[in-house]
Each structure stands twice: as structure tokens, then as C-alpha cells.
């Protein structure tokens, strides 16, 4: 009983870390640009497929793939913000949401055309491929690595936003766009930078997920974006700390849910999202920052 509790918790936490990597970019972009990006899951998917391609066809190391893949996604993110999203900031909300939704359709189909509609089996990582015994059960080393990476990213992001010059500019633009522009911040360039950075975070999540998920599918972006939406909502739209706690919570809820009450699999997640939106629309974990 205890072993399985420990095991389910560990699985939940490592799954939550991937959701966190996607949700962090999503919430950062929303906090600054005020756009909820449906296509954020597509960056995750693109990151995974590009990393896989580097491994498989260019014969590079996995770690090099984790660097190259997301960099290519940065270029895609740059083009999307600079040439498409920028046109609709002044329009009503539905147009912004639908533009990013159109991008989901386009990215999904492009991936299908390039890599085929079927799933692709993914490789193991040298050095992190085995498993160790925790509480009497085998647990993959790679998942423990992910459980270290997630909090490190969180601390890094926090330090970047709170302590660095760039972080201060981003927070200024998020708090008051016009005031920031008045004191000389180049807000459009900053928007682009934040969007590209968010896309990069999500793509890194996708690249790191390659050995974890075992199978790459074109539906993986959609699966993760729904969870990331829930996380961002319960964490409070725009709140990074909230998103981290939310991702942990959703990861655990999913893994305990599938283990103990499989009949209510996704239902729990969405009922949580609904309740938080109604009861505390500013987010369950909001008030921690900003």
C-alpha cells in the first residue's frame, strides 16, 4: 500500500513537471501579452519531434537535440508573434483566441505531413536509461532527472524575473504597458522576446519528453495544452508560482485519479478547473506573487 502510494506520487510529480514547463511559458505569455495561446501545446509537440529528428537522422547526442530542437521552435515562435499575433492585439478577444487556434490546426497538420500520422517510437538516453529501487519498486532514473529539472527551471525563472534587468522590464510591461513604453521600453520587441522565450520553454519540455513518453503522436500537443490550461487557470492566469503549484497538483491528481478512481479519469481535472473559475477566478494559488 505504502509502496504504491509513493510510486503513484512520484509518477504524478514527474508528469506534473512536463505540464509545468508548458504552463510556465503559457502563463508568462498571458501575463505580459494578455493572449491565451492555444498553440502553446504545438510548440511542445514541435520541440519533441525536432529533437527526435536530430537524434534519428542527424546522429547527434540527445542533449544536443534538446538544444537544437527548441532553437528551431524559437524561430517558429518569432515568426508567429512578429507576423501574425501582432496584427490582432487590438482586436476583440475571440479573434486572438481563434488565431492561435488556427495555428494549432496548421501545426498539427504540418507535423502529420512531415513525420506521418502514426506514432514514432523514441530512444532511450545514455546515462539516464536505467531504473532504481524506491520503496521496493523500480522507478526510472530519467523521471528523477525530470523532477530535478522542473524546480530548477522554476527557481531560474523566478531569479530571472525578480533579480535581472530584463526581468524588471518584463514585469514593468506586464503591469502597465503604456507607462513602460513612456519610459523608453521597446514594448513590441519585448512582447516578441517574451513570446519566443515562452515558446522555447514549452519546446524544451517537449524535447525532454521524448524519452519519457516513449511514443510521439500528433495528439501530444493537444493533450498537454488542455492540462496546461487547467494548471494556468487554477494557478491564476499570469502567475508563475501558481502555475508551478498547479502543475504539481494536477500531475498528482491525474496519477492518483487514474490509479484509484479510473471511472472519473479526466472529470476530476475539469471539475477542479470549473470550481476554481467560479469560486476564485483569480486562481487558487494566486496572491503568492504579483
Amino acid at each position: 500500500m505504502l509502496e504504491s502510494l509513493v510510486h503513484v506520487s512520484l509518477t504524478g510529480i514527474s508528469a506534473g513537471m512536463f505540464i509545468w514547463l508548458v504552463a510556465s511559458g503559457l502563463t508568462l505569455i498571458f501575463g505580459v501579452l494578455r493572449v491565451l495561446n492555444f498553440a502553446h501545446g504545438s510548440f511542445y509537440m514541435l520541440g519533441a519531434y525536432l529533437c527526435y529528428t536530430c537524434l534519428r537522422y542527424m546522429g547527434v547526442d540527445f542533449w544536443l537535440g534538446v538544444i537544437i530542437g527548441p532553437l528551431i521552435v524559437c524561430v517558429v515562435g518569432y515568426a508567429m508573434e512578429r507576423y501574425l499575433l501582432r496584427q490582432v492585439y487590438d482586436l476583440e478577444l475571440p479573434y486572438q483566441l481563434l488565431l492561435t487556434f488556427a495555428m494549432v490546426l496548421i501545426f498539427d497538420e504540418l507535423v502529420k505531413m512531415i513525420w506521418g500520422a502514426g506514432s514514432i517510437g523514441s530512444p532511450t538516453v545514455p546515462g539516464l536509461s536505467g531504473s532504481i529501487q524506491i520503496a521496493g519498486r523500480n522507478f526510472p532514473v530519467y523521471n528523477i532527472f525530470i523532477m530535478v529539472v522542473g524546480p530548477l527551471v522554476a527557481i531560474g525563472l523566478w531569479a530571472f524575473l525578480e533579480k535581472s534587468w530584463w526581468g524588471r522590464l518584463i514585469r514593468a510591461a506586464a503591469a502597465d504597458r503604456e507607462m513602460a513604453a513612456a519610459i523608453g521600453v521597446r514594448v513590441p520587441a519585448l512582447y516578441t522576446a517574451v513570446f519566443v522565450f515562452g515558446a522555447w520553454l514549452s519546446a524544451v519540455g517537449g524535447a525532454l519528453a521524448v524519452p519519457y513518453v516513449g511514443l510521439l503522436t500528433t495528439g501530444m500537443g493537444e493533450a498537454v495544452i488542455i492540462n496546461a490550461f487547467v494548471v494556468v487557470v487554477i494557478g491564476g492566469l499570469g502567475s508563475l508560482q501558481g502555475a508551478f503549484l498547479g502543475a504539481l497538483f494536477i500531475g498528482l491528481l491525474n496519477s492518483f485519479g487514474t490509479r484509484y478512481i479510473p471511472a472519473l479519469d479526466m472529470f476530476l481535472t475539469f471539475i477542479l478547473m470549473g470550481v476554481v473559475l467560479l469560486w476564485r477566478p483569480q486562481g487558487f494559488f494566486a496572491g503568492v506573487d504579483r
Binding site: E92, A102, I106, I226, V233, L264, D265, F267, F270, L277
Partner: protein
């Protein structure tokens, strides 16, 4: 456009649809029925989106509820009264919309959209998980179209060429009702809410109640479309409740023209025909829809009907 020419256009459309029903091949019949069902869905949806200004990502749930409602009626109660099955679907969808809408209309803008997404996906996951009732991921299939019995005589709707006229009847009825809604004080209040909800509130109107009413009415039409679609396809799967299916009516309304009455119908024709056409050449029709959607948002926001009527206005001056 003058009142007179509106009637002429409506009569011409009706005549064409009747003509298609009497003389065309099965394939054209099938496509036209899909156009009409989609446009019932989209016209109803547009009461909420184009008229009231609320973007819902949960309307696929009402569509699916209509379909499951009609399917369960035909499987467990009676397969010989399809009209009652359709009514069951509509009532079930409207009732669900009342419950969900009661919570959702507390918010607007992005929070409203997120709430409808959450509730819609709850319905999706229930349909997916409650295998005993809904058949799980297989859905419900093999639904037969029994004859409509009216006292002494029966109207068979088994064949596509017969069922077509039932769909046409509901399409015409829905169009008429929605047209009346747009002309009514109720419809005008909805437009007022879209333009300025604070002023509408100050005029002494309960904005939240009106929003809820719009939500329920559009949910009921989604249910009708779902029930008709079930009878056309003879099956239903939980994917019809997935949030991405809620994008169909949005796409259709945008293509046709958001704040117009005939926009959703024109958009539906385009949607079904284009999809059929693109699928002949490539499997990746979603790519093309993404590109079309992108084009509309970036440069063509009035849609077909909006842009055409603007052009006509300029032309007639």
C-alpha cells in the same frame, strides 16, 4: 437590403433546397443535409457568439447531448417515434445548457470561454467514461430511422430522400425562429449586451438573465442539430463533445459573417463543400482550414456576407 428582396432571396433558397430534395443524387442529398444540420448548429451558436458576444468552447457538449439523447430514446424507449427522440435530444441539451449556463454566465470574456471549456470537457469525459450508458469510446451505433406515425398514417423517413425533407423542415423552422428572435426585443437586448453591457444593465435589464437565456436557446439548437446528425449518420461518438468540435460553428460563422443572419448558412455551405473538395486531393484538410481561418481573421473579418453587403452598399450609393 430592402424587405422585399429579403423575401425573394429566402423563397429562392427554399425553392432550391426543395429542388435538391426532389431531383438530386444521394450524394448531393447527403451533403445538403450536412450543410443544413451544421447551419442549424451554427445559427443557434451565433445567437450567443455573434449576437451576445460570448465565445463558448463548450457547445459541442450540447450537440453531443442532443445526439445521445435521441439515441438513448430510440434504443431504450421506442424507435418508432423519431420526432419524440429529437424532442428528447433538444430538451436534454437545453436542460444541460440551463445548468451549465447558470454557472458560466457569471463571467465574461476569457473566463467565460475557459468555464465553458471546463464544463464541456466534463461532459466529454462523462460520455467517455460511462461505458454502460454511452458505450464509451465506441459510442452508440446502429440507430434506425423509424417512421413518423401521425395517427392513421405514417411518414417513412428511412431513405435519405425521405429524411431530407424532415431536415429541411427543421432547418426552415429554425431559420424562422432565429430570424424572429433577432427582430424581437429580446434579440435587441442581446445585441445591446454585446455592444455595451454596462449601459444595458443601467437600462434596468438583468444582463445575466439575458445571457443565460441566449445560452439556453443556443444550446437547444445545438441539441436539435445533434439529434438530426445522429439520425443522419446513425451513430454518435464522444468525440462529438470534444472542445475542438466546438470550433466548427465558430469557423462557419466567421466564414459567413459574424453579425449577420444568413452568415452561418453561407458559411456552412462553404465549410461542407470546401471540406469535401479538399479531401479529394489531400488528407490534410485541417491545414487548409487553419489557413482559411487565418486569412479571415487577418484580412476579411466581415466574412462573406458581411463583405458582400458592404460592397453592395458602397455600390448602390
Amino acid at each position: 437590403m430592402s424587405r422585399y428582396s429579403k423575401y425573394v432571396i429566402a423563397a429562392a433558397v427554399l425553392a432550391i433546397l426543395l429542388g435538391i430534395g426532389l431531383f438530386s443524387s444521394r450524394f448531393i442529398l447527403y451533403l445538403t443535409m450536412r450543410v443544413m444540420i451544421l447551419s442549424i448548429f451554427a445559427m443557434g451558436y451565433n445567437i450567443l457568439f455573434g449576437r451576445t458576444g460570448l465565445l463558448s468552447f463548450g457547445h459541442a457538449a450540447f450537440f453531443a447531448t442532443g445526439a445521445y439523447g435521441a439515441a438513448l430514446w430510440s434504443m431504450h424507449v421506442s424507435s418508432s417515434h423519431p420526432l419524440l427522440g429529437i424532442l428528447t435530444g433538444i430538451v436534454a441539451a437545453a436542460f444541460l445548457a440551463l445548468i451549465i449556463g447558470f454557472f458560466c454566465v457569471r463571467h465574461t470574456e476569457i473566463y467565460f470561454s475557459m468555464l465553458t471549456l471546463a464544463f464541456g470537457m466534463m461532459v466529454f469525459s462523462l460520455m467517455w467514461n460511462l461505458r454502460d450508458i454511452t458505450g464509451g469510446d465506441d459510442g452508440l451505433s446502429g440507430i434506425v430511422r423509424g417512421s413518423i406515425s401521425l395517427g392513421f398514417f405514417k411518414i417513412p423517413i428511412m431513405k435519405d430522400s425521405q429524411f431530407y425533407f424532415l431536415v429541411l423542415f427543421f432547418f426552415a423552422l429554425s431559420s424562422l425562429i432565429i430570424y424572429r428572435i433577432y427582430q424581437s426585443p429580446f434579440g435587441l437586448v442581446l445585441a445591446g449586451i454585446r455592444e455595451n453591457h454596462i449601459r444595458t444593465e443601467f437600462a434596468g435589464l438583468g444582463v445575466r438573465r439575458y445571457r443565460l437565456a441566449a445560452f439556453v436557446v443556443s444550446g437547444a439548437f445545438a441539441g436539435l442539430a445533434g439529434a438530426l446528425s445522429l439520425l443522419l449518420q446513425s451513430n454518435v461518438t464522444p468525440f462529438s463533445a470534444h472542445w475542438s468540435h466546438s470550433a466548427d460553428p465558430v469557423l462557419v460563422s466567421l466564414m459567413g459573417g459574424l453579425q449577420t443572419f444568413s452568415g452561418p448558412f453561407v458559411g456552412s455551405i462553404l465549410f461542407v463543400v470546401l471540406r469535401e473538395f479538399i479531401e479529394r486531393f489531400t488528407h490534410n484538410w485541417m491545414l487548409w482550414f487553419g489557413l482559411i481561418l487565418l486569412g479571415i481573421i487577418l484580412g476579411f473579418r466581415g466574412g462573406i456576407v458581411g463583405s458582400t453587403s458592404q460592397f453592395l452598399k458602397r455600390f448602390s450609393r
